[in-house]
Amino acid sequence: MTTIKFTVNGQAQSLDIDPTTPLLWTLRDHLQMTGTKFGCGIGMCGACTVHLNGNATRSCLIPVQAVDGADIATIEGLSESGDHILQKLWVELNVPQCGYCQSGVLMAAADLLKRIPNPSDEEIDANISNICRCGTYPRIREGIRRAAQEMGA
């Protein structure tokens, strides 16, 4: 057990924890923040995407010892009341189906728009590598395009 300190959505956290515990399970089991999802455990599906010091990161591969002192943002902190432009558009455009992967998709998309405010289709393809088994990709693309338009307007 090691004491690890970091912030999650702006709140300071201090945990006595097995330092090899992935950030994903730290959030889910130790902090009961279950919005970040377990999908594959090998960093491929992206369901566990969070922002680590502002950058989209797959939390299933990051041992918690690596985030000592870091700032983490999760889906629960993407906006104060679920009104991030992507969250609003995701509802309006009926993007999610089962919805399980969408926390991760939203965190990846929010990061993309922060870095590239008006991404091309190729940039969307290159940056959104999350897996959605329900096949919501066309609507994810539409949601990102619309968000880019509305943010630019």
């Binding site: 057990m1 097995d18 090899t20 515990t21 399970w25 889910r28 089991d29 130790h30 009961q32 923040m33 279950t34 919005g35 970040t36 999802k37 377990f38 999908g39 594959c40 455990g41 090998i42 491929m44 599906c45 999760t74 889906i75 629960e76 993407l78 679920g82 992507l86 969250q87 995701w90 509802v91 309006e92 455009l93 009926n94 993007v95 999610p96 189906q97 089962c98 919805g99 399980y100 992967c101 969408q102 926390s103 939203l106 969307i124 393809d125 290159a126 959104i128 590598s129 999350n130 897996i131 959605c132 088994r133 329900c134 096949g135 919501t136 990709y137 066309p138 609507r139 994810i140 693309r141």
Partner: protein, 744 residues
């Protein structure tokens, strides 16, 4: 029709006051008269379908799990259509099968036979709409009594009751409690479809989405209980194998580890009463294995990884390779001795101008739901509480009873959100494993989580199958005879094969379709459009081969074969072809292919959802396949929520793409080789072709056919047929990524 169904099923709508509001239940008359079935006691507690609270909140209770298809939203829409309420105030909660058990008929009778399936079914609509109408009339009557006016002077709209002559208004919530005690002289009749304002007119998003996008939606794996512990499990890699040995001492001292338990299929206590699982218990049996229980999941997983385990593979190890499976299948098919399923004319006496024969194969496929298998259970000596992301609560309930041995009166099940179903969470083998683990750690809630690897290798897969066809063509190139035999392992459904439209359209005088079985040890089960998902490929590829052999354009060939069939099929074919530019020249290495299929139609016209796809593909000389576009047409009769239908079509098309391009499990020494997305690839954003769904082939026929499964079918064969047009190579098995498509 609506009224007939209601009266034939003899339902009563009863009301009650709940927390200052109105609550309505559907109660079957025969169930009121009878003592509870299943040995259950009659129970006076409420099983509300619809509750209107004093603050105007409307709660619709839904027995259908929400697997992402919008089933719960659809039921709420059906009720809201007649209720004249503010859609923004509508909330959805899941019914518990425990209530159904204690008060038989509360949710299941007269609706669907099980707590799964499709709430959009035409048959379910009248009941739910009647609930809305009944509530509306009760609210109007309560307002009329309060104002001492005639009910005919009151209008209900947007959750407000208005006395038209005076303009006075009351909110639904203000009279909800009074509405619970008014007596209707008779149940109101339903609006004709022409007066619908919500169904078919609006396309609301799924009601649960605000919770999905802020991370607060609770899926099974998100269930958190006070004092909960976690379990990680490993089951015999060869299905049907047994745990030979393990060494708990090696891990019991690891941090957080509480126990190591064995999952023993022979230890199932059995249900203390006659059980009525929706699909029976076959396929839900425990798989021999071992689980580590710890304070946290990561501790359980680490200990499980460190646990020495030996397996006795059992007979399944006989199947040492896919080649062996194929070779045994061919031996069976060579005999052409399968049990005949469909027969007309006499295929043996046909003198064909040309005969063609081909064999097609589709492999085992894993559902790969994004939420790995999991479940949470709290077992005590005389009770069981289960939280589960099941697709069928009735099945899950009875499996839980059977595996706990607890009397169903004391088994409570909680439906959670479902992170993908596709048929994987139906049979309840996952429920059984959860209960088998929790039963050995009583008094403490245990959350059991399958790793992705365990989820993949302990699937209940789409069965692998082979289909062989033999056709006799006449001088004009058309089919004089068609013989087919499918050899499958597992579920004997044969949908999409025995009911293929070509066998029923009357265009082929001599038809014989048969099935044979290759028993294997590998667990199989429902997978988005069972059997059809494979046979849409085998049938539509063979018909394409017949067209080529007959020297007739594949589109024209299908139109001829279906000339006397449901005309919507021809409309779908023509529209998809036209929109895709059928017949326009393409550069070398590019091609278009077409395919059409329907789910589910059982050989009937104007039934199910007819779906047609034209794929435009390009194949490089090195054999790299690119799907440029899919033009897609469909006929499900009519739609009640067009956007929900389009979402299912988009998802189904992409599911069909992935299934055909990527999916296929490899069997070595009886075990599944693939374990995670690195070797079982999923399409991503960058891989999705342009998908163009055209609406104009919708026939308007009076049915709202289910739509989630059909679109999976025609995608693979359309691509395969396009590959043939592009490079002249006929692809007879999936996944296409494993085929050699190089050309020169």
């Amino acid at each position: 029709m609506t009224q007939m169904k209601m009266s034939r099923r003899k339902f009563l709508i009863t009301s009650a006051t709940v927390a200052g509001g109105l609550s309505l239940q559907l109660v079957p008359i025969d169930a009121m008269a009878a003592t509870g079935k299943n040995g259950g006691q009659r129970d006076s507690a409420l099983s509300p379908w619809l509750t209107i609270q004093a603050d105007d909140t409307i709660i619709v209770t839904v027995p259908t799990p929400e697997i992402g298809n919008g089933a719960s939203t659809q039921q709420a829409m059906n009720i809201a259509e007649e209720l004249a309420c503010d859609w923004q105030r509508v909330n959805v909660e899941f019914a518990s099968f425990s209530r159904e058990y204690k008060q038989p008929g509360s949710y299941a009778v007269g609706m669907q036979p099980f707590f799964g399936g499709h709430s959009t079914d035409h048959e379910r609509m009248p009941y739910t709409m009647q609930l809305g109408a009944s509530a509306r009339e009760r609210l109007k009557l309560a307002a009329a009594q309060r104002w001492n006016v005639s009910i005919t002077e009151i209008e209900a709209r947007n959750s407000v009751l208005k006395h038209l002559p005076s303009g006075r208004t009351l909110r639904f919530g203000e009279v909800a409690a009074e509405a619970a005690s008014v007596v209707l002289e008779s149940e109101p009749s339903l609006k004709p479809q022409s007066e619908w304002t919500l169904l078919g007119k609006t396309k609301p998003h799924k009601v649960q989405l605000p919770k999905v996008v802020n991370g607060s939606a609770k899926y099974g794996v998100d269930v958190t209980r006070p004092g909960m512990v976690y379990a990680a499990l490993r089951q015999s890699p060869v299905h049907g194998g047994l745990l030979k040995s393990h060494d708990p001492e090696a891990v019991l001292s690891m941090p957080g580890v509480r126990a190591v338990v064995v999952i023993d299929p022979s230890a199932t206590p059995g249900s203390p009463v006659d059980a009525s699982p929706t699909f029976g218990f076959e396929g839900s049996e425990c798989r021999s294995g071992v689980a580590v229980i710890a304070d946290h999941y990561w501790q359980a997983k680490k200990a499980l990884d460190a646990l020495p385990v030996e397996w006795d593979d059992g007979l399944g190890a006989f199947w040492n390779s896919d080649e062996k499976i194929h070779e045994r299948q061919d031996r069976i098919l060579d005999r052409w001795a399968g049990a005949p399923l469909t027969k007309s004319g006499n295929v043996d006496t046909v003198k064909a101008a040309k005969t063609i024969e081909a064999t097609y194969r589709t492999p085992f496929c894993e559902h790969a739901t994004m939420e790995p298998l999991n479940g949470t259970a709290l077992y005590t000596e005389d009770s069981l509480e289960l939280w589960h992301s099941t697709q069928d609560m009735q099945q899950a309930f009875w499996v839980a009873v059977d595996e706990s041995g607890v009397h169903p009166d004391r088994v409570t099940i909680h439906q959670t959100m479902v992170g993908g179903g596709f048929g994987r969470r139906v049979i309840g083998d996952d429920v059984r494993a959860v209960v088998a683990v929790a039963r050995q750690y009583p008094g403490v809630p245990v959350k059991v989580i399958w790793s992705r690897e365990e989820t993949t290798q302990q699937g209940a897969y789409r069965t692998q199958l082979a289909a062989r066809f033999r056709a006799g063509l006449n001088e004009q190139g058309m089919l004089e005879s068609l013989e087919g035999e499918t050899c499958f392992s597992g579920m004997a459904l044969n949908l999409g094969f025995t009911d293929m439209a070509y066998a029923f359209s009357g265009a082929i005088p001599n038809v014989r379709l048969a099935a044979s079985n290759l028993p294997m040890h590998i667990a199989t089960g429902a997978y988005r459009a069972p059997c059809y998902n494979a046979h849409a490929f085998t049938v539509e590829t063979f018909i394409d081969e017949c067209a080529v052999a007959g020297g007739i354009d594949p589109l024209e060939y299908r139109l001829k074969l279906l000339a006397d069939w449901d005309p919507a099929w021809s409309h779908c074919l023509k529209l998809a072809a036209e929109r895709a530019g059928w017949g326009k020249p393409l550069p070398k290495g590019q091609g278009r292919g077409i395919a059409i299929s329907n789910w589910p139609h059982s050989g009937e016209k104007q039934a199910g959802a007819t779906v047609c796809a034209v794929a435009h593909v390009e194949v490089s000389q090195e054999g790299k396949l690119t799907v440029h576009s899919i033009d897609f047409t469909f006929d499900c009769g009519r739609t009640v929520n067009l956007d929900a239908v389009l979402a299912q079509l988009e998802g189904g098309i992409i599911f069909g793409l992935n299934m055909s391009l990527n999916e296929g499990l490899t069997i070595v020494d009886g075990a599944v080789v693939e374990s995670n997305f690195d070797r079982y690839p999923m399409l991503k954003m960058a891989d999705i072709p342009e998908i163009k769904i055209h609406l104009e082939a919708l026939s308007g026929h009076d049915r709202f056919a289910i739509i989630g499964e059909a679109p999976v079918g025609p995608i693979g064969p359309a691509i395969g047929n396009a590959i043939y047009q592009a490079i002249g190579k006929r692809v007879r098995s999936t996944p296409f990524r494993k085929q050699d498509l190089s050309w020169s």
